[in-house]
Symmetry: C4
Subunit: 221 residues, 4 copies
C-alpha cells in the first residue's frame, strides 16, 4: 500500500507531541499515547506499544486503519489502539485522541467523580464539569464506546474513564494534547482546593459566557 | 508611530521573564502572561494571546496603549490585556503586572479564601494575608477594577481573583514576577500546613516589623 | 578472579538505570540503589554506598557474590547489599532488585497499609494490592527475609517495607526499575484519590483479566 | 586583610552547593542560603543577599567574621548572616549551615509541630524527631540563639524555626546541605503518610540502632 503524503508530516508531529506528555508529567514509563487522523483518509497514526518516550522516532510511529489494523510500521500499535479507532469511526469531527493516566485526573476517576467546574480556566476549555465514563475492560470496543457515549453528553473534550485514566479529543492531535494538559492542571487545582474546604461554584450562565468567548476569541485568528 | 527606544529592551526583558513562569510551574500550555510599562510613556508591552512559551521571542511581544489597543506587533495581544491596561491606568506607581493560574494560589481562589499570613516569608513579601478579589468575567474592565479595588485595601502585591487565578503587581515586570513566584510558594506551604492541623498565627506587630525590614534592608542597595 | 564477560555490559546498564530513579523523583541525595544478577553466575552488580548519582560511573558499580561479599570494585557496596543478596539466593527467577524511599509509596509503608488495587494500571503491573512487609533492621538477613516472604504471597513485584521504603524485583534490573516507577506512580494516584473521598473498587475478576492480558499482550513481542 | 588560601576553594564549593537547593526544590527566587566555615579561622563564607541562584559565582560569595561583619566581597551578605555567625560562634564543631523555606518542612514549622520519626531514613540521618525552635525576629541574635538552644536538646542536624523555615548544620557545608535535602524529603513523606491515617511509630531502641549504624557504617570510609 502506498501511504498518503500527509503521513510523514503527521508521524513527525505526533512523535513530537509525546514530549509534551513527559514535560507536563502526565505519563510514567511507557504509559500514555497520542494518535492523529490522516486528513481525508480512513487512517490514523499512533504510538507503538510499550516503547519508551526517549526511543520514539517519527519512523517508529505506526499507521492503522479505522478498525485498528496495522497498515504501516515495524512495531505493534499501542494496546489502546482499539479505543482510538472506535473514536475515529464514530466521530468524523475528531482528528486527535490522547490517553494518559495523569495522576490528579486519574484520582477523580478512581472515585467515579466528575471534576466540578469551579475555575474560569475549566469553563474556557471544558465548558463545564469533566465527566466520568464507565468502567470498561481493554481488548474490544468497550472503552471506545464508553468514551464516545460520555463525550456525547458534554462539551468537554476530556473524559475520565472509571478506575482507569483520561481520554481527550480534539480537532487534531495538538488540540487533544492541550486538553490532556489542561485536564490534569484543573484536576489538580480543584483537588487541592476542595481538600482545604468547600468550593465556590460558578454560575452556569457565566460558564456558558466564558466557554463561548474562549472558543471564539482566545489565541490568534 | 515611532516607538520609544526603551521598548526594544523591555520586549527582551518581558520575553525572558516568561521563562520564570515555566521554571516555577506557574503556567500550563499557553495560560499566563506578563506585561511591563514603558517608562515615561502611556504604553506597555505584553505577551501575545495563545502563543506557546517555547515560541515566545522579543519580537512576538506586542505593544499596547493604556486602553489596551494594539500599537505595535504582528500578533493579537493577550486576552487579559484589558485587565493589565486598567491597572496601569489606575496605578501610575505600578510598572509590571503578572497573571497566572498557579495551582495552589488558584485553589485558595476557588474557595474565595485569603491566604493567612503564618510565614515570615509572607510577612516579608506580602505584609499580611493575600486577599481575594471578586468574581469577574473577562471582556471589559471588570477584572481590572476588581484587582485595583482589592489591592487598595492591602499591602500585598498579589490578589487572588475568585474562581480564576492570581494577579500580581510590582514596580517593574521583574518585581511582579517575583511576587507571582512567592505567592504560589506561600500558597502551597500554607495549604500543606493547614491540611495537617491548626496553624499558629504570627503577631500582627511582628508582621509589621518583618514587612518594614524586608522592604528596606533585604537585597543589595 | 577473572570476571564473566557479561559483567561489563551489566555495569553499564545498571549505572544508566540509576538515572531513571532520579528522573522520576524516587530518590533524594544518595539514597536508593539498583542491582542486577550476572546471568548464569552466582554474582550481581550493585551501586556503591553513599555515592552521588552524578558521580556514578560503570566502573564505580561493584560486583558481589550471593552472600553479599565484594568480589570486584574499588568502593564499598550499598548498605542494602545483604537484602539484595538474600533475594537473589532465594529466588533464582529474579534478575534485578531496586530499593527506594520514594515518597508516596513510603508514606503507605509508614502506616503499614497496603495500596489497594483501584486502578487498571495497578492491575496490569501488580495484579492486585501492593503488600507491606514487616519492620526489619538493616545489618543482617531480616530485610531480605521480609521481602521474600511478602512477595511469596502476592503477584506484586513491589513490596513496601514497614516504616522504611520500597523494594521491587523483576526478571532483570530494567523490569525492577519499571516496577519501582509504577509503584510510586500508583501510590501517589491512589493516595490523592482516597484523600478526596471513598475509592471505587475493581472487581477481582477484572483485576485477573487485566493482569493476564498485560503480562502477555502489552509491548513488543 | 590577606585571605587564607582555603577561602578560594570554599567559595567555589559553597557556590556550587547552592545548585542542590535549586535541584531539590528547596528554594524559590532568591530565598535560602548556605555558609561554610573557613577551617581553622574565625571566618565563614556565605551567599550574598537577594542574588538570584543563576547569578551566583564563586567571586560573589562573601566572607564574614564570626560577628557577621563583612570581611571580603563586593556584595552585602545574606540577611540571615547574623544567625549563621551565632551558630559558628557557639558551636566550634559545626562547619556548615544551611537555611531554606522548603515547603513541607516549613509547613510543620507553621504548626509549631516536630516531625515524628516514623521512617528508618529519619532515624538514620536525624536520630529521632526533627524539633521546632522558637519564633524569632530577624535582625539580632534571636534566631541564632533559638537554633543553638534547640539543637542542644536533639541529635537532629535540622531545626524547624516556628513560622519561618529550616536551619541545618553539619561538619561542613555539604553535610548541612544533605541534612536540608533529607529534612524536606522526610517532612514530605511523613506529611503525606499522616494525611492518609495514623502513623506507625518506630521503637526508640530501633531508632538508636539505626542512627548509630548509619553514622558509623554508611558510605565510603
Amino acid at each position: 500500500m502506498s501511504l498518503p503524503a500527509a503521513v510523514a508530516d503527521l508521524r513527525e508531529q505526533v512523535c513530537a507531541l509525546h514530549t509534551e506528555l513527559v514535560r507536563y508529567g502526565l505519563v510514567a514509563w511507557t504509559a500514555g499515547n497520542i494518535s492523529g487522523r490522516v486528513p481525508g483518509e480512513d487512517l490514523f497514526v499512533i504510538k507503538p506499544s510499550g516503547i519508551s518516550y526517549d526511543d520514539l522516532t517519527p519512523a517508529s510511529i505506526v499507521v492503522c486503519d479505522l478498525d485498528g489494523t496495522l497498515v504501516d510500521g515495524e512495531l505493534a500499535p499501542s494496546s489502546d489502539t482499539a479505543a482510538h479507532a472506535y473514536v475515529y469511526r464514530s466521530r468524523p469531527d475528531i482528528g486527535g485522541v490522547v490517553h494518559t493516566h495523569s495522576p490528579y485526573a486519574t484520582a477523580w476517576a478512581a472515585r467515579d467523580e466528575p471534576i466540578p467546574c469551579v475555575l474560569t480556566a475549566m469553563a474556557d476549555e471544558f465548558g463545564g464539569d469533566i465527566p466520568v465514563g464507565p468502567f470498561a475492560l481493554i481488548g474490544d470496543d468497550s472503552i471506545g464506546q464508553g468514551i464516545v457515549a460520555t463525550l456525547a453528553e458534554s462539551r468537554s473534550p476530556a473524559v475520565l474513564m472509571r478506575n482507569h485514566g483520561v481520554f481527550t479529543v480534539g480537532k487534531d492531535a495538538k488540540a487533544a494534547v492541550k486538553a490532556a494538559v489542561m485536564c490534569e492542571d484543573v484536576a489538580r487545582t480543584v483537588h487541592i482546593a476542595r481538600s482545604g474546604g468547600p468550593l465556590v461554584p460558578i454560575d452556569p450562565g457565566h460558564i456558558d459566557s466564558l466557554y463561548h468567548r474562549y472558543q471564539t476569541v482566545y489565541g490568534q485568528r
